[in-house]
């Protein structure tokens, strides 16, 4: 058993110092509430629409600015979002997983939406790798926003044995033109419930709140169990903090009665993907 938490925050655009203080105080709170793994949203340290401010807000992984996070990660495991100045001298939207005093895993956002209100690919380089992290609390996968809307990346992590999926987002509110709820939230619930149930994973979905100019971010974070049920939900657009107990033993139990994972045939998949004509 361990305790999984989501810090649903509203980062101040380009104010890394302020945002860092907020992260550290929430990590302290999480430690006091005996949370073992805490997930922050996409670009939680910088804010989202940096535009021409991307370079100024970026950090290398060896930046001393991150030392306080390494230190506190001796007491709690967590993921947070930065703009990373990559070793290849390109900027990435990154999610870092801190544990036992070090950065144990890094995910570069792979799919960078560039349409409508999104301009990711205009400013950032694409990630090319999706790998699980062997954490003290299970085989952890991290994906960032548009990434987890691509079923392929979830499947890649699942095939590597993932049992806890940490998702980080900055999702603009859209589609309030209906009686109840709103279209992006309904879409997220539908997707996450399906992923959790059919990949047999626990999911922490950390979705930022607040505003950047006229864009409101939806908040409405969720923690889901491996049967696809939403067990905790964060507030709409406000900041929030949610936690839930996780029993990884339930993954084994579900595999016994609903053995999708062991039916999966990796060799057959590889063979068929190799045969797909890329025209």
């Amino acid at each position: 058993m361990f305790k999984l938490g989501v810090a649903q925050i509203n980062p101040v655009l380009n104010d890394l110092k302020h945002n860092k203080e907020k992260h550290l105080s929430l990590l302290e709170r999480a430690i006091s509430e005996k949370v073992n793994v805490l997930v922050f949203p996409e670009l939680s340290l910088t804010g989202y629409y940096l535009l021409d401010g991307v370079a100024e807000a970026s950090l290398s992984l060896n930046s001393p600015f991150l030392d306080d996070f390494k230190k506190i990660s001796k007491e709690i495991s967590f993921s947070l979002g930065i703009i990373e100045k990559g070793t290849d001298d390109n900027p990435y939207i990154s999610q870092l997983f801190f544990e036992e005093g070090e950065i144990k895993g890094v995910h570069h956002k792979v799919y960078l939406p560039t349409h409508g209100i999104f301009e990711d690919l205009k400013y950032f380089a694409r990630g090319k790798k999706v790998a699980i992290i062997n954490s003290r609390y299970g085989k952890v996968g991290m994906l960032i926003c548009r990434d987890f809307m691509h079923l392929s990346l979830n499947l890649l992590l699942s095939l590597q044995g993932m049992n806890v999926l940490l998702l980080s987002s900055a999702i603009p509110v859209r589609g309030l033109d209906k009686d109840k709820s709103f279209s992006v939230k309904e879409s997220m619930e539908y997707l996450l419930r399906t992923l959790a149930n059919y990949l047999n994973v626990f999911i922490a979905f950390s979705s930022r709140g607040g505003f950047e100019e006229g864009i409101a971010f939806m908040g409405s974070s969720m923690i889901l169990n491996n049967y696809g049920f939403i067990v905790k939900e964060g507030a709409f657009i406000d900041e929030d903090f949610i936690t839930s107990g996780i029993n990884l033993e339930n993954i084994y139990k579900k595999n016994i009665v609903f053995p999708l994972n062991r039916e999966e045939d990796l060799l057959m998949l590889k063979d068929n993907i190799g045969k797909i004509n890329n025209d």
Partner: protein, 276 residues
Amino acid sequence: MINLNCEFAEKLLVNFILDQKEKTGAESMVFGLSGGLDSTVSAYLLKEALGKNILALILPYGDWTKNDMEDALMVAKELNLNYEIYSLDKLALGYFEDMQVEDRLRQGNFVSRLRSNVVFDFSKKLKAIVAGSSNKTELLMGYGTWYGDLAASFYLLGDLYKTQVRLLAKYLGVPDRILSKVPTAGLWPGQTDEGEMGITYEELDKILYLLVDKRKTVEEVISEGFADKNVRRVAQQVFASAFKRKIPTIPKLSQRTIGADFLYLKEYRPKDSKTE
């Protein structure tokens, strides 16, 4: 067809007002209160967000807006708002006489711009920002006076069609008397929005919703049963009025031009906060 999750819309708009106040550092917000539906809904939301830190400006001209002024006063009293009343007669009539302005559209636009002058003067006095009440229907149709009622720090209702503003108004408990009023820009006596645009808001909003939100083509909208002439006229008007929705065009000369490749959000501030 066009609905609204009023509960979430109210929360989003109230939070937005608080966010704008914090990020701009404004001490309060000022807005023009006409007694019409849009500015009344703005009043309800601003009051909910900021309490006493708002000022409603009731700025009548002649006897054109007498009924509206009574309604504006009713709203101000109902919500216990801080408000000021100032008649634009002296300012406007002096100019109209000196320059022999008789055209009612010129007069209407002039008064609308005088109104925005007064609103912005109060915003300076009170270290405030200006809440605009233009809705999505008006903005898409360009149905507003450029630098007049369109002059504002933000358009609180700018992503709500008129019929959605009405839904929100009902939800917020706006009095029936205001809900049942015929919408008017108050440009001249007896002027109504629907009369001037030649289409009802109900039909107009449906056409706009299909064209803009649902990205349908003119032909697709017509095939849903709307009059050919109306759909084409609305589509044409949306693009013809684009100039009112953007900053003035700048001919590019340099390596980096405002609006073209000098790209930051308004709330972006450079910070020397890293220790790297």
